[in-house]
Protein backbone atom coordinates (compact mmCIF):
# COMPACT_ATOMS: atom_id res chain seq x y z
CA UNK A 1 0.00 0.00 0.00
CA UNK A 2 1.66 3.19 -1.13
CA UNK A 3 0.95 6.57 0.38
CA UNK A 4 0.38 9.89 -1.35
CA UNK A 5 2.93 12.56 -0.39
CA UNK A 6 2.00 15.36 -2.80
CA UNK A 7 -1.53 16.05 -3.94
CA UNK A 8 -2.23 18.90 -6.36
CA UNK A 9 -5.77 19.56 -7.50
CA UNK A 10 -6.78 22.14 -10.10
CA UNK A 11 -3.76 24.42 -9.41
CA UNK A 12 -4.06 27.82 -11.09
CA UNK A 13 -1.52 30.63 -11.13
CA UNK A 14 -1.47 33.99 -12.85
CA UNK A 15 1.34 36.50 -13.41
CA UNK A 16 -0.68 39.66 -13.92
CA UNK A 17 -3.12 38.72 -16.68
CA UNK A 18 -0.99 35.87 -17.96
CA UNK A 19 -2.17 32.48 -16.77
CA UNK A 20 0.93 30.38 -16.12
CA UNK A 21 -0.84 27.29 -14.69
CA UNK A 22 -4.27 26.23 -15.95
CA UNK A 23 -5.69 23.68 -13.57
CA UNK A 24 -2.80 21.28 -13.00
CA UNK A 25 -3.60 17.98 -11.25
CA UNK A 26 -0.86 15.71 -9.93
CA UNK A 27 -0.64 13.00 -7.33
CA UNK A 28 2.79 11.78 -6.27
CA UNK A 29 3.41 8.73 -4.13
CA UNK A 30 6.21 8.36 -1.65
CA UNK A 31 9.44 7.29 -3.35
CA UNK A 32 8.26 8.14 -6.84
CA UNK A 33 10.55 9.89 -9.32
CA UNK A 34 8.61 12.29 -11.54
CA UNK A 35 10.14 13.94 -14.59
CA UNK A 36 8.45 17.09 -15.85
CA UNK A 37 9.34 18.32 -19.33
CA UNK A 38 8.03 20.66 -21.96
CA UNK A 39 8.90 23.77 -23.96
CA UNK A 40 10.16 26.87 -22.16
CA UNK A 41 7.38 29.02 -20.78
CA UNK A 42 5.11 26.01 -20.39
CA UNK A 43 4.78 26.50 -16.61
CA UNK A 44 6.83 23.49 -15.48
CA UNK A 45 9.22 25.52 -13.30
CA UNK A 46 6.38 27.61 -11.95
CA UNK A 47 4.57 24.42 -11.04
CA UNK A 48 7.34 22.85 -8.96
CA UNK A 49 7.99 26.21 -7.30
CA UNK A 50 4.40 26.27 -6.06
CA UNK A 51 5.07 23.04 -4.17
CA UNK A 52 7.43 24.75 -1.68
CA UNK A 53 5.60 28.03 -2.16
CA UNK A 54 8.35 30.03 -3.79
CA UNK A 55 5.37 30.85 -6.01
CA UNK A 56 1.92 31.23 -4.54
CA UNK A 57 -0.94 29.46 -6.32
CA UNK A 58 -4.14 31.46 -6.52
CA UNK A 59 -6.67 28.67 -7.02
CA UNK A 60 -6.81 24.98 -6.23
CA UNK A 61 -5.33 22.80 -3.52
CA UNK A 62 -1.77 21.66 -2.79
CA UNK A 63 -1.29 19.20 0.05
CA UNK A 64 2.27 18.14 0.91
CA UNK A 65 2.81 15.37 3.45
CA UNK A 66 -0.63 15.96 4.89
CA UNK A 67 -0.19 19.74 5.26
CA UNK A 68 -2.18 22.05 3.05
CA UNK A 69 -0.34 25.07 1.62
CA UNK A 70 -2.22 28.18 2.69
CA UNK A 71 -1.23 31.66 3.83
CA UNK A 72 -0.44 30.22 7.26
CA UNK A 73 3.29 30.91 7.67
CA UNK A 74 3.75 28.01 10.09
CA UNK A 75 2.57 25.59 7.41
CA UNK A 76 4.93 27.12 4.87
CA UNK A 77 7.88 26.87 7.27
CA UNK A 78 6.99 23.28 8.11
CA UNK A 79 6.72 22.30 4.45
CA UNK A 80 9.92 24.06 3.40
CA UNK A 81 11.95 22.12 5.94
CA UNK A 82 10.51 18.88 4.46
CA UNK A 83 11.36 19.80 0.86
CA UNK A 84 14.82 20.29 -0.62
CA UNK A 85 15.27 22.30 -3.77
CA UNK A 86 18.02 22.47 -6.38
CA UNK A 87 18.06 25.43 -8.77
CA UNK A 88 19.24 25.85 -12.33
CA UNK A 89 21.68 28.61 -11.26
CA UNK A 90 22.85 26.66 -8.13
CA UNK A 91 22.26 29.73 -5.88
CA UNK A 92 24.98 28.75 -3.45
CA UNK A 93 25.72 31.43 -0.86
CA UNK A 94 28.91 33.03 -2.23
CA UNK A 95 30.07 34.49 1.09
CA UNK A 96 30.05 31.11 2.85
CA UNK A 97 32.37 28.15 2.42
CA UNK A 98 31.04 24.87 1.04
CA UNK A 99 30.77 23.43 4.55
CA UNK A 100 29.01 26.56 5.86
CA UNK A 101 26.59 26.48 2.91
CA UNK A 102 25.55 22.97 3.90
CA UNK A 103 25.47 23.41 7.69
CA UNK A 104 23.67 26.79 7.72
CA UNK A 105 20.09 25.53 7.69
CA UNK A 106 20.62 22.51 9.99
CA UNK A 107 22.22 24.83 12.58
CA UNK A 108 19.69 27.67 12.34
CA UNK A 109 16.49 25.84 11.45
CA UNK A 110 16.94 22.36 12.93
CA UNK A 111 19.02 23.79 15.85
CA UNK A 112 21.62 21.06 15.55
CA UNK A 113 24.94 21.61 17.34
CA UNK A 114 27.69 22.70 14.95
CA UNK A 115 29.67 19.46 15.36
CA UNK A 116 26.73 17.28 14.36
CA UNK A 117 25.86 19.52 11.39
CA UNK A 118 29.45 19.40 10.15
CA UNK A 119 29.66 15.65 10.52
CA UNK A 120 26.49 15.21 8.47
CA UNK A 121 27.74 17.76 5.93
CA UNK A 122 31.00 15.86 5.43
CA UNK A 123 29.10 12.60 4.94
CA UNK A 124 26.93 14.31 2.32
CA UNK A 125 29.97 15.73 0.52
CA UNK A 126 31.34 12.18 0.48
CA UNK A 127 28.05 10.99 -0.99
CA UNK A 128 28.10 13.58 -3.81
CA UNK A 129 31.76 12.80 -4.45
CA UNK A 130 33.58 15.99 -3.43
CA UNK A 131 34.71 15.54 0.21
CA UNK A 132 37.96 17.43 -0.49
CA UNK A 133 36.17 20.69 -1.39
CA UNK A 134 34.65 21.36 2.06
CA UNK A 135 36.73 24.42 2.93
CA UNK A 136 36.57 26.12 -0.48
CA UNK A 137 34.26 28.91 -1.52
CA UNK A 138 31.65 28.36 -4.25
CA UNK A 139 33.41 30.68 -6.72
CA UNK A 140 36.43 28.34 -6.68
CA UNK A 141 34.40 25.29 -7.78
CA UNK A 142 33.34 24.18 -11.26
CA UNK A 143 29.67 24.34 -12.19
CA UNK A 144 29.22 20.61 -11.71
CA UNK A 145 30.83 20.73 -8.28
CA UNK A 146 28.69 23.71 -7.30
CA UNK A 147 25.53 21.88 -8.28
CA UNK A 148 26.60 18.84 -6.27
CA UNK A 149 27.19 21.10 -3.25
CA UNK A 150 23.69 22.50 -3.82
CA UNK A 151 22.30 18.96 -3.74
CA UNK A 152 24.21 18.25 -0.51
CA UNK A 153 22.89 21.51 0.97
CA UNK A 154 19.31 20.49 0.20
CA UNK A 155 19.86 16.95 1.56
CA UNK A 156 21.33 18.30 4.82
CA UNK A 157 17.84 19.17 6.01
CA UNK A 158 16.93 15.49 5.57
CA UNK A 159 13.98 16.31 3.32
CA UNK A 160 11.24 13.87 2.33
CA UNK A 161 10.93 15.40 -1.13
CA UNK A 162 13.53 16.86 -3.50
CA UNK A 163 12.64 19.35 -6.23
CA UNK A 164 15.05 19.87 -9.13
CA UNK A 165 14.47 22.90 -11.36
CA UNK A 166 16.49 22.23 -14.55
CA UNK A 167 19.55 21.20 -12.52
CA UNK A 168 21.82 20.56 -15.51
CA UNK A 169 20.73 23.33 -17.90
CA UNK A 170 23.44 25.78 -16.81
CA UNK A 171 26.25 23.20 -16.94
CA UNK A 172 28.95 22.50 -19.51
CA UNK A 173 28.29 19.16 -21.27
CA UNK A 174 31.15 17.29 -19.55
CA UNK A 175 29.76 18.22 -16.12
CA UNK A 176 26.18 17.13 -16.72
CA UNK A 177 27.00 13.47 -16.11
CA UNK A 178 28.57 14.01 -12.68
CA UNK A 179 25.39 15.75 -11.49
CA UNK A 180 23.06 13.20 -13.11
CA UNK A 181 25.03 10.35 -11.47
CA UNK A 182 24.32 11.87 -8.06
CA UNK A 183 20.64 12.26 -8.95
CA UNK A 184 20.38 8.66 -10.16
CA UNK A 185 21.94 7.42 -6.92
CA UNK A 186 19.46 9.57 -4.98
CA UNK A 187 16.51 8.23 -6.99
CA UNK A 188 17.61 4.64 -6.37
CA UNK A 189 17.86 5.33 -2.63
CA UNK A 190 14.10 5.86 -2.55
CA UNK A 191 13.87 9.64 -2.42
CA UNK A 192 10.68 11.24 -3.72
CA UNK A 193 11.83 13.49 -6.56
CA UNK A 194 10.20 15.98 -8.92
CA UNK A 195 12.64 16.84 -11.67
CA UNK A 196 12.17 19.46 -14.36
CA UNK A 197 14.66 18.40 -17.02
CA UNK A 198 15.23 17.65 -20.68
CA UNK A 199 17.72 14.87 -19.90
CA UNK A 200 15.71 12.05 -21.45
CA UNK A 201 18.43 9.51 -20.62
CA UNK A 202 17.86 10.27 -16.96
CA UNK A 203 14.10 9.97 -17.44
CA UNK A 204 14.45 6.59 -19.12
CA UNK A 205 16.78 5.30 -16.43
CA UNK A 206 14.95 6.26 -13.24
CA UNK A 207 11.63 8.06 -13.84
CA UNK A 208 8.47 6.30 -12.64
CA UNK A 209 6.22 8.72 -14.46
CA UNK A 210 6.65 11.64 -16.83
CA UNK A 211 4.49 14.73 -17.27
CA UNK A 212 4.54 16.78 -20.47
CA UNK A 213 3.63 20.45 -19.86
CA UNK A 214 2.61 22.93 -22.53
CA UNK A 215 1.00 26.35 -22.11
CA UNK A 216 0.29 25.80 -18.43
CA UNK A 217 -1.41 22.44 -18.89
CA UNK A 218 -0.44 18.82 -18.35
CA UNK A 219 -0.82 17.67 -21.95
CA UNK A 220 0.12 14.06 -21.34
CA UNK A 221 1.46 11.88 -18.57
CA UNK A 222 2.52 8.27 -18.21
CA UNK A 223 5.40 5.91 -17.66
CA UNK A 224 8.60 6.53 -19.67
CA UNK A 225 7.63 3.53 -21.83
CA UNK A 226 4.25 5.08 -22.66
CA UNK A 227 5.73 8.50 -23.38
CA UNK A 228 8.72 7.44 -25.47
CA UNK A 229 7.24 4.51 -27.38
CA UNK A 230 3.62 5.39 -27.55
CA UNK A 231 2.86 9.11 -27.14
CA UNK A 232 -0.81 9.86 -27.68
CA UNK A 233 -0.80 13.61 -28.24
CA UNK A 234 0.61 15.23 -31.37
CA UNK A 235 2.26 17.99 -29.35
CA UNK A 236 4.11 15.42 -27.25
CA UNK A 237 5.30 13.60 -30.35
CA UNK A 238 6.48 16.84 -31.94
CA UNK A 239 8.32 18.01 -28.85
CA UNK A 240 9.97 14.62 -28.29
CA UNK A 241 11.09 14.44 -31.91
CA UNK A 242 12.67 17.88 -31.53
CA UNK A 243 14.64 17.13 -28.39
CA UNK A 244 15.57 13.53 -29.21
CA UNK A 245 16.85 14.00 -32.76
CA UNK A 246 19.45 16.70 -32.33
Amino acid sequence: MSETIILCKDVNKWFGNFQALKGVDMEVEKGEVIVIFGPSGSGKSTFIRTINRLEEHQQGTIIVDGIELTHDVRNIAAIRSEIGMVFQQFNLFPHLSVLQNITLAPIWVRKWPKEKAEEVARQLLERVGIPEQAEKFPANLSGGQQQRVAIARALAMQPKIMLFDEPTSALDPEMIKEVLDVMVELAKSGMTMLVVTHEMGFARAVADRMFFFDEGLVVESGTPDDIFKNPKEDRTKLFLSQILTH
Binding site: L54, A77, N91, V109, F137
Partner: protein
Protein backbone atom coordinates in the same frame (compact mmCIF):
# COMPACT_ATOMS: atom_id res chain seq x y z
CA UNK B 1 49.52 11.88 -31.28
CA UNK B 2 52.93 11.72 -29.66
CA UNK B 3 53.50 15.41 -30.32
CA UNK B 4 50.24 16.24 -28.54
CA UNK B 5 51.33 14.19 -25.57
CA UNK B 6 54.68 15.93 -25.65
CA UNK B 7 53.00 19.30 -25.48
CA UNK B 8 50.68 18.19 -22.69
CA UNK B 9 53.55 16.79 -20.66
CA UNK B 10 55.84 19.78 -21.08
CA UNK B 11 55.31 22.34 -18.37
CA UNK B 12 56.03 25.59 -20.15
CA UNK B 13 57.47 28.37 -18.03
CA UNK B 14 56.01 31.87 -18.26
CA UNK B 15 58.32 34.43 -19.86
CA UNK B 16 60.83 35.83 -17.37
CA UNK B 17 59.84 39.15 -15.80
CA UNK B 18 61.54 42.31 -16.98
CA UNK B 19 64.54 43.80 -15.21
CA UNK B 20 64.26 47.31 -13.81
CA UNK B 21 66.17 49.00 -16.62
CA UNK B 22 64.26 47.11 -19.28
CA UNK B 23 60.95 48.03 -17.56
CA UNK B 24 61.94 51.73 -17.54
CA UNK B 25 62.95 51.62 -21.18
CA UNK B 26 59.74 49.91 -22.28
CA UNK B 27 57.29 51.94 -20.20
CA UNK B 28 58.80 55.39 -19.81
CA UNK B 29 61.07 55.87 -22.82
CA UNK B 30 59.47 53.75 -25.53
CA UNK B 31 59.13 56.62 -27.99
CA UNK B 32 60.01 60.28 -28.38
CA UNK B 33 56.76 61.72 -26.94
CA UNK B 34 56.76 59.43 -23.92
CA UNK B 35 60.40 60.19 -23.23
CA UNK B 36 59.68 63.92 -23.35
CA UNK B 37 56.64 63.50 -21.05
CA UNK B 38 58.68 61.45 -18.60
CA UNK B 39 61.42 64.10 -18.43
CA UNK B 40 58.94 66.98 -18.04
CA UNK B 41 57.03 65.11 -15.28
CA UNK B 42 60.21 64.30 -13.40
CA UNK B 43 61.33 67.91 -13.60
CA UNK B 44 57.95 69.11 -12.31
CA UNK B 45 57.99 66.59 -9.46
CA UNK B 46 61.48 67.72 -8.52
CA UNK B 47 60.57 71.42 -8.49
CA UNK B 48 57.38 70.90 -6.47
CA UNK B 49 58.97 68.40 -4.10
CA UNK B 50 61.93 70.67 -3.46
CA UNK B 51 59.67 73.66 -2.82
CA UNK B 52 57.56 71.66 -0.32
CA UNK B 53 60.58 70.33 1.55
CA UNK B 54 62.24 73.74 1.71
CA UNK B 55 59.04 75.34 2.98
CA UNK B 56 58.28 72.68 5.59
CA UNK B 57 61.77 72.46 7.05
CA UNK B 58 63.27 75.91 6.54
CA UNK B 59 60.65 78.56 5.83
CA UNK B 60 57.56 77.61 7.83
CA UNK B 61 57.29 78.81 11.40
CA UNK B 62 55.77 75.97 13.42
CA UNK B 63 55.72 77.86 16.73
CA UNK B 64 51.90 77.81 17.09
CA UNK B 65 51.95 74.02 17.01
CA UNK B 66 55.25 73.70 18.83
CA UNK B 67 53.92 75.68 21.79
CA UNK B 68 50.35 74.32 21.91
CA UNK B 69 50.37 70.55 21.31
CA UNK B 70 47.91 69.83 24.12
CA UNK B 71 45.48 72.50 22.92
CA UNK B 72 45.37 70.81 19.53
CA UNK B 73 44.90 67.40 21.15
CA UNK B 74 42.31 68.09 23.89
CA UNK B 75 41.38 71.82 23.81
CA UNK B 76 40.73 73.37 27.24
CA UNK B 77 40.46 70.03 29.04
CA UNK B 78 42.00 70.75 32.49
CA UNK B 79 45.64 69.78 32.50
CA UNK B 80 45.44 68.11 35.92
CA UNK B 81 42.62 65.90 34.62
CA UNK B 82 44.26 65.04 31.33
CA UNK B 83 45.22 61.58 32.58
CA UNK B 84 41.57 60.61 31.93
CA UNK B 85 42.08 61.19 28.22
CA UNK B 86 45.29 59.18 28.46
CA UNK B 87 43.59 56.27 30.19
CA UNK B 88 40.81 56.27 27.57
CA UNK B 89 43.34 56.08 24.77
CA UNK B 90 45.31 53.35 26.54
CA UNK B 91 42.08 51.38 26.84
CA UNK B 92 41.39 51.67 23.10
CA UNK B 93 44.98 50.71 22.26
CA UNK B 94 44.84 47.75 24.63
CA UNK B 95 41.55 46.42 23.22
CA UNK B 96 42.79 46.87 19.66
CA UNK B 97 45.84 44.80 20.60
CA UNK B 98 43.71 42.11 22.25
CA UNK B 99 41.44 41.97 19.18
CA UNK B 100 44.52 41.56 16.98
CA UNK B 101 45.75 38.69 19.13
CA UNK B 102 42.34 37.07 19.25
CA UNK B 103 41.18 37.38 15.64
CA UNK B 104 44.35 38.12 13.61
CA UNK B 105 43.59 38.76 9.93
CA UNK B 106 42.01 42.12 9.38
CA UNK B 107 42.41 43.14 13.04
CA UNK B 108 46.16 43.00 12.52
CA UNK B 109 45.83 45.69 9.85
CA UNK B 110 43.76 47.87 12.16
CA UNK B 111 46.27 47.49 15.01
CA UNK B 112 49.10 48.34 12.63
CA UNK B 113 47.21 51.41 11.41
CA UNK B 114 46.60 52.63 14.95
CA UNK B 115 50.27 52.08 15.85
CA UNK B 116 51.22 53.93 12.65
CA UNK B 117 48.97 56.81 13.71
CA UNK B 118 50.74 56.99 17.08
CA UNK B 119 54.13 57.02 15.42
CA UNK B 120 53.00 59.93 13.23
CA UNK B 121 51.89 61.79 16.37
CA UNK B 122 55.25 61.26 18.10
CA UNK B 123 56.90 62.94 15.12
CA UNK B 124 54.88 66.14 15.56
CA UNK B 125 56.89 69.29 16.20
CA UNK B 126 55.99 69.87 19.85
CA UNK B 127 58.01 71.86 22.29
CA UNK B 128 59.33 72.18 25.82
CA UNK B 129 61.79 69.50 26.88
CA UNK B 130 59.57 67.87 29.52
CA UNK B 131 56.32 68.44 27.64
CA UNK B 132 57.76 67.06 24.44
CA UNK B 133 59.20 64.05 26.23
CA UNK B 134 55.95 63.06 28.00
CA UNK B 135 53.99 63.72 24.80
CA UNK B 136 56.19 61.37 22.78
CA UNK B 137 56.53 58.80 25.56
CA UNK B 138 52.76 58.67 25.88
CA UNK B 139 52.22 57.73 22.23
CA UNK B 140 55.13 55.29 22.21
CA UNK B 141 53.59 53.84 25.38
CA UNK B 142 50.36 53.32 23.45
CA UNK B 143 52.24 51.35 20.81
CA UNK B 144 53.65 49.19 23.61
CA UNK B 145 50.14 48.73 25.07
CA UNK B 146 48.88 47.51 21.69
CA UNK B 147 51.60 44.88 21.75
CA UNK B 148 50.82 43.89 25.36
CA UNK B 149 47.17 43.51 24.36
CA UNK B 150 48.26 41.36 21.44
CA UNK B 151 50.22 39.04 23.74
CA UNK B 152 47.21 38.69 26.02
CA UNK B 153 44.86 38.17 23.08
CA UNK B 154 46.84 35.17 21.84
CA UNK B 155 46.15 33.30 25.09
CA UNK B 156 43.44 30.69 24.74
CA UNK B 157 41.43 31.81 27.78
CA UNK B 158 40.63 35.13 26.03
CA UNK B 159 37.43 34.31 24.13
CA UNK B 160 35.86 36.41 21.41
CA UNK B 161 32.80 37.07 23.55
CA UNK B 162 34.94 38.61 26.31
CA UNK B 163 36.74 40.86 23.86
CA UNK B 164 33.41 42.08 22.47
CA UNK B 165 32.09 42.73 25.97
CA UNK B 166 35.32 44.60 26.71
CA UNK B 167 34.79 46.85 23.69
CA UNK B 168 31.16 47.50 24.54
CA UNK B 169 31.87 48.35 28.18
CA UNK B 170 34.82 50.55 27.23
CA UNK B 171 32.90 52.47 24.60
CA UNK B 172 30.24 53.26 27.19
CA UNK B 173 32.77 53.92 29.96
CA UNK B 174 35.07 56.29 28.03
CA UNK B 175 32.55 59.17 27.67
CA UNK B 176 31.61 58.73 31.35
CA UNK B 177 35.26 58.82 32.40
CA UNK B 178 35.96 61.90 30.28
CA UNK B 179 32.91 63.72 31.64
CA UNK B 180 33.35 62.56 35.26
CA UNK B 181 30.82 62.84 38.07
CA UNK B 182 30.37 64.91 41.25
CA UNK B 183 31.72 68.39 41.88
CA UNK B 184 34.84 67.22 43.65
CA UNK B 185 36.44 63.86 44.35
CA UNK B 186 38.83 61.88 42.21
CA UNK B 187 36.95 62.32 38.97
CA UNK B 188 35.18 65.71 38.98
CA UNK B 189 32.94 66.79 36.14
CA UNK B 190 34.70 68.36 33.19
CA UNK B 191 31.99 70.15 31.22
CA UNK B 192 32.00 69.41 27.50
CA UNK B 193 32.53 73.12 26.79
CA UNK B 194 36.10 72.48 27.95
CA UNK B 195 36.61 69.58 25.54
CA UNK B 196 38.24 70.27 22.25
CA UNK B 197 40.75 69.52 19.55
CA UNK B 198 41.50 66.18 17.96
CA UNK B 199 39.80 64.44 20.89
CA UNK B 200 36.41 66.00 20.08
CA UNK B 201 36.88 65.48 16.34
CA UNK B 202 37.56 61.78 16.94
CA UNK B 203 34.73 61.42 19.47
CA UNK B 204 32.26 62.94 17.00
CA UNK B 205 33.59 60.85 14.13
CA UNK B 206 33.83 57.51 15.96
CA UNK B 207 30.54 58.06 17.80
CA UNK B 208 28.85 59.13 14.58
CA UNK B 209 30.16 56.11 12.68
CA UNK B 210 29.30 53.57 15.38
CA UNK B 211 25.77 54.96 15.80
CA UNK B 212 24.92 55.80 12.20
CA UNK B 213 25.96 52.43 10.79
CA UNK B 214 23.30 50.29 12.53
CA UNK B 215 20.68 53.02 12.14
CA UNK B 216 21.52 53.32 8.45
CA UNK B 217 21.23 49.56 7.95
CA UNK B 218 17.86 49.52 9.71
CA UNK B 219 16.61 52.45 7.62
CA UNK B 220 17.72 50.71 4.42
CA UNK B 221 15.95 47.49 5.44
CA UNK B 222 12.92 49.54 6.48
CA UNK B 223 12.79 51.19 3.09
CA UNK B 224 12.66 47.74 1.44
CA UNK B 225 10.16 46.40 3.98
CA UNK B 226 6.84 44.98 2.86
CA UNK B 227 5.10 46.68 5.78
CA UNK B 228 3.81 50.01 4.44
CA UNK B 229 4.09 51.98 7.69
CA UNK B 230 7.75 51.05 8.23
CA UNK B 231 8.52 51.66 4.57
CA UNK B 232 6.92 55.11 4.51
CA UNK B 233 8.49 56.09 7.82
CA UNK B 234 12.00 55.03 6.70
CA UNK B 235 11.67 56.65 3.30
CA UNK B 236 10.40 59.86 4.87
CA UNK B 237 13.36 60.08 7.28
CA UNK B 238 15.92 59.30 4.60
CA UNK B 239 14.52 61.76 2.08
CA UNK B 240 13.94 64.50 4.64
CA UNK B 241 17.46 64.30 6.02
CA UNK B 242 19.07 64.00 2.61
CA UNK B 243 17.21 67.06 1.40
CA UNK B 244 18.61 69.31 4.11
CA UNK B 245 22.20 70.58 4.51
CA UNK B 246 24.17 69.21 7.46
CA UNK B 247 24.59 72.73 8.81
CA UNK B 248 20.82 73.06 9.08
CA UNK B 249 20.53 69.74 10.88
CA UNK B 250 23.26 70.76 13.33
CA UNK B 251 21.45 74.05 13.99
CA UNK B 252 18.15 72.27 14.51
CA UNK B 253 19.58 69.60 16.78
CA UNK B 254 21.53 72.05 18.89
CA UNK B 255 19.17 75.02 19.11
CA UNK B 256 15.63 74.13 18.12
CA UNK B 257 15.63 70.75 19.86
CA UNK B 258 16.47 72.51 23.13
CA UNK B 259 13.44 74.79 22.71
CA UNK B 260 11.05 71.87 22.46
CA UNK B 261 12.43 69.82 25.30
CA UNK B 262 11.57 70.69 28.90
CA UNK B 263 14.40 72.62 30.62
CA UNK B 264 15.15 69.85 33.13
CA UNK B 265 15.81 67.49 30.19
CA UNK B 266 18.82 69.35 28.89
CA UNK B 267 20.83 67.23 26.51
CA UNK B 268 24.53 68.00 26.40
CA UNK B 269 25.70 70.27 23.59
CA UNK B 270 28.22 67.78 22.27
CA UNK B 271 25.66 64.97 22.38
CA UNK B 272 23.20 67.10 20.41
CA UNK B 273 25.81 67.76 17.74
CA UNK B 274 26.64 64.04 17.70
CA UNK B 275 22.96 63.14 17.25
CA UNK B 276 22.65 65.58 14.36
CA UNK B 277 25.68 64.14 12.60
CA UNK B 278 24.51 60.59 13.28
CA UNK B 279 21.11 61.25 11.73
CA UNK B 280 22.70 62.86 8.68
CA UNK B 281 25.22 60.09 8.18
CA UNK B 282 22.61 57.37 8.80
CA UNK B 283 20.46 58.65 5.92
CA UNK B 284 23.38 58.49 3.49
CA UNK B 285 24.54 55.12 4.83
CA UNK B 286 20.99 53.85 4.31
CA UNK B 287 21.07 54.79 0.64
CA UNK B 288 24.47 53.12 0.20
CA UNK B 289 23.23 49.95 1.89
CA UNK B 290 20.10 50.02 -0.25
CA UNK B 291 22.36 49.86 -3.29
CA UNK B 292 24.00 46.77 -1.80
CA UNK B 293 20.63 45.16 -1.05
CA UNK B 294 19.67 45.59 -4.69
CA UNK B 295 22.83 43.72 -5.70
CA UNK B 296 21.76 40.54 -3.87
CA UNK B 297 19.98 38.36 -6.42
CA UNK B 298 16.48 37.01 -6.01
CA UNK B 299 17.96 33.50 -6.34
CA UNK B 300 19.88 33.96 -3.08
CA UNK B 301 16.70 34.81 -1.21
CA UNK B 302 14.84 31.89 -2.82
CA UNK B 303 17.63 29.49 -1.88
CA UNK B 304 17.55 30.74 1.71
CA UNK B 305 13.77 30.30 1.87
CA UNK B 306 13.97 26.89 0.24
CA UNK B 307 16.30 25.55 2.95
CA UNK B 308 13.81 26.79 5.55
CA UNK B 309 15.32 30.04 6.86
CA UNK B 310 12.73 32.56 8.02
CA UNK B 311 12.71 36.20 6.89
CA UNK B 312 14.84 37.43 9.77
CA UNK B 313 17.48 34.72 9.30
CA UNK B 314 17.50 35.27 5.54
CA UNK B 315 18.18 38.99 6.03
CA UNK B 316 20.79 38.51 8.75
CA UNK B 317 22.69 35.54 7.33
CA UNK B 318 22.30 35.80 3.58
CA UNK B 319 21.24 39.27 2.42
CA UNK B 320 23.11 41.67 4.71
CA UNK B 321 26.56 40.01 4.58
CA UNK B 322 26.49 40.11 0.78
CA UNK B 323 24.92 43.58 0.57
CA UNK B 324 27.35 45.20 3.01
CA UNK B 325 30.36 43.58 1.42
CA UNK B 326 29.37 45.01 -1.92
CA UNK B 327 29.19 48.56 -0.61
CA UNK B 328 32.22 48.76 1.73
CA UNK B 329 33.93 51.39 -0.46
CA UNK B 330 30.80 53.54 -0.54
CA UNK B 331 30.20 53.22 3.20
CA UNK B 332 33.80 54.00 4.11
CA UNK B 333 33.60 56.97 1.73
CA UNK B 334 30.56 58.12 3.69
CA UNK B 335 32.46 57.68 6.97
CA UNK B 336 35.40 59.71 5.67
CA UNK B 337 32.93 62.41 4.66
CA UNK B 338 31.44 62.27 8.16
CA UNK B 339 34.92 62.58 9.68
CA UNK B 340 35.63 65.70 7.64
CA UNK B 341 32.13 67.07 8.26
CA UNK B 342 32.85 67.15 11.99
CA UNK B 343 34.47 70.52 11.19
CA UNK B 344 30.97 71.90 10.61
CA UNK B 345 30.28 71.49 14.33
CA UNK B 346 32.21 74.76 14.51
CA UNK B 347 28.92 76.58 13.82
CA UNK B 348 27.35 75.25 17.00
CA UNK B 349 30.43 76.31 18.96
CA UNK B 350 32.05 72.90 19.35
CA UNK B 351 35.81 73.24 19.68
CA UNK B 352 36.78 70.56 17.21
CA UNK B 353 40.20 70.53 15.58
CA UNK B 354 39.60 73.25 12.96
CA UNK B 355 37.97 75.57 15.49
CA UNK B 356 40.95 75.03 17.82
CA UNK B 357 43.24 75.96 14.93
CA UNK B 358 41.30 79.20 14.57
CA UNK B 359 41.49 79.88 18.31
CA UNK B 360 45.24 79.28 18.37
CA UNK B 361 45.59 81.60 15.40
CA UNK B 362 43.82 84.39 17.30
CA UNK B 363 45.49 83.69 20.63
CA UNK B 364 48.68 85.63 19.86
CA UNK B 365 49.34 88.61 17.57
CA UNK B 366 52.50 86.94 16.35
CA UNK B 367 50.50 83.95 15.17
CA UNK B 368 48.15 86.00 13.01
CA UNK B 369 50.50 85.82 10.04
CA UNK B 370 51.07 82.11 10.54
CA UNK B 371 47.62 80.99 9.46
CA UNK B 372 49.09 79.03 6.56
CA UNK B 373 51.16 76.89 8.91
CA UNK B 374 48.25 76.31 11.26
CA UNK B 375 45.77 75.34 8.59
CA UNK B 376 48.31 73.16 6.80
CA UNK B 377 48.89 71.34 10.08
CA UNK B 378 45.15 70.81 10.65
CA UNK B 379 44.71 69.68 7.05
CA UNK B 380 47.59 67.23 7.40
CA UNK B 381 46.01 65.63 10.47
CA UNK B 382 42.70 65.28 8.63
CA UNK B 383 44.49 63.83 5.64
CA UNK B 384 46.39 61.24 7.68
CA UNK B 385 43.23 59.96 9.38
CA UNK B 386 41.18 59.96 6.18
CA UNK B 387 43.92 58.11 4.37
CA UNK B 388 44.20 55.54 7.17
CA UNK B 389 40.44 54.95 6.85
CA UNK B 390 40.56 54.42 3.11
CA UNK B 391 43.59 52.16 3.54
CA UNK B 392 41.68 50.12 6.13
CA UNK B 393 38.75 49.94 3.73
CA UNK B 394 40.91 48.39 1.02
CA UNK B 395 42.36 45.90 3.50
CA UNK B 396 38.83 44.99 4.57
CA UNK B 397 37.78 44.47 0.95
CA UNK B 398 40.72 42.13 0.35
CA UNK B 399 40.09 40.24 3.59
CA UNK B 400 36.44 39.69 2.68
CA UNK B 401 37.29 38.83 -0.91
CA UNK B 402 35.13 41.48 -2.57
CA UNK B 403 34.73 40.66 -6.23
CA UNK B 404 36.45 37.30 -5.99
CA UNK B 405 33.84 35.22 -4.22
Amino acid sequence: MSSTEGRLAKNNKPPASLGLLEWIRRNLFNNLINSALTIVSLALLFVIGRAVIVWVFFVADWRPIYSNPLIFMVGQYPREQIWRVGVSLFLVSFLTGVSWGRWRGIMRSFAMLLAGGYVVLTLLPVGGLMGSLTFRLFFIGNVAVIYLGFLLGTRTFVTGAWVLIGWLVSLLAIPVLLRGWGESGAIPIVDTTMWGGLMVTLLLAVGGILLSFPIGVLLALGRKSSLPIIRIFSTAIIEMVRGVPLVTILFMSSIILALFLPPELRIDRLVRALLGMTLFSAAYTAENVRGGLAAVTEGQIEAARAVGLNNFQTTLLIVLPQALRAVIPAIVGQFIALFKDTTLAIIVAINELLNIGKSVLQSDVEYLQLQFEIYIFVAAIFWVFSYLMSFASRRLETALGVGTR
